[in-house]
Symmetry: C2
Subunit: 213 residues, 2 copies
Amino acid sequence: MSATAEEEAYRHLQRALRLGRYKPGERLIPEEIAAEIGMSRMPVREAFRRLASDGLVVLRPNRGCVVAGLTVDELYEIFEIRSVLEGLAVRLAMPRIDEEALEEFENLLDRMERAGQSGSSDWVVRHQEFHGRICALSRRPKLIHQISALHVVIEPYMRIWFDDAHKPLSAREEHAAVIAALRSGDGRHAEEVMQNHILGTAPLLAEFVGPSR
Amino acid sequence: MSATAEEEAYRHLQRALRLGRYKPGERLIPEEIAAEIGMSRMPVREAFRRLASDGLVVLRPNRGCVVAGLTVDELYEIFEIRSVLEGLAVRLAMPRIDEEALEEFENLLDRMERAGQSGSSDWVVRHQEFHGRICALSRRPKLIHQISALHVVIEPYMRIWFDDAHKPLSAREEHAAVIAALRSGDGRHAEEVMQNHILGTAPLLAEFVGPSR
DNA sequence: TTGATAATACGTGGATACAAAAATACTTTC
DNA sequence: GAAAGTATTTTTGTATCCACGTATTATCAA
């Protein structure tokens, strides 16, 4: 249970949006959602505002709340931003990367691989976990937060990508290369590898999105 | 006038926070603020949520809204993030930088200089404008938005810095160097110069903040 | 005097009520 | 039959009200 109704509404909606249960452009009616989770529309409204700041919905005065979608351009843009932020994160994480950490990353990579082969869309979550654990070692709270916010926004598209055509064929090698770069101990090098990894993913994903909105 | 009361409350509070009219740790009472601008608590509460997402205030369940402050560590972190984001922005802006754009930047630099010498704290605004105009040429809406959000968060500290001791002595050369890098036409080079410019500013500013919170 | 505890005042979160705006359906007119 | 204007319905935005949680102060015991 969450402390406040607003928090509950926020989590409920964020989860639904991440899972792609609502389609871009779809209108979210406060009363309906309030009824679903048993509260008034007030806390739902407040949750809307937070979701709007996250970029998950769009809020227009007197016109309600619609589910946000990403155009291909916006998708690329987010990957560009991710590339420099996560690049920075690995660079800063480097001093704290030891044999133990590398082992953890290998394990996460294995779990990701297994989830991928079983066809479960857990792959998306495992993938986030992999990137997230590396970023966590940067010990930069705001940086970590911003990166994870970007992962949330692209999550629905990652799911579509994964479900449509078990793409992560090259994923294993890509991520193994990142681990190898981490093992090198060279922060700048690892930063570059991470940047290229992320930028390389964007066009693959964009294929499956098509000109939306 | 703004369309909604929430918008008005948001602008009012953001402005006050940017100008440093409220001190970190200070508690904001919805009722007081609502009275000030002639509305009920409700739209003010909603404005609080947006400000919290911006990182300008902290909202704790049942404990109200307090003005956020930055520790020195957080200040450095923000400058690290700015360095890679604005670095990316200049790199992407490079193809669109022509003689006309360079001239505009020179002009902005002059205006910044003049504001600096007159002692007016317009300097902070001009400085934002200078960085903002460069970033704008990247034509990446989300990137621009994120960068400008970071400028907002550090604005109060920039003002303290400026007011306390007309620092921007080296500023003129620093920013002139950025323009020179833009003139070179080399995106990677300009990115690096921008990164170093931003990272170089952080310790100067940190001096004047001291261990807050 | 100090520390714990109870009483009280204050502030927050949420629900309901009301007003204003937008969307929709319905005429009316050409 | 189409377009424009009008009325109705729906939905959003704001205000007010109430219940609960938190902080403060007062009271009392050690």
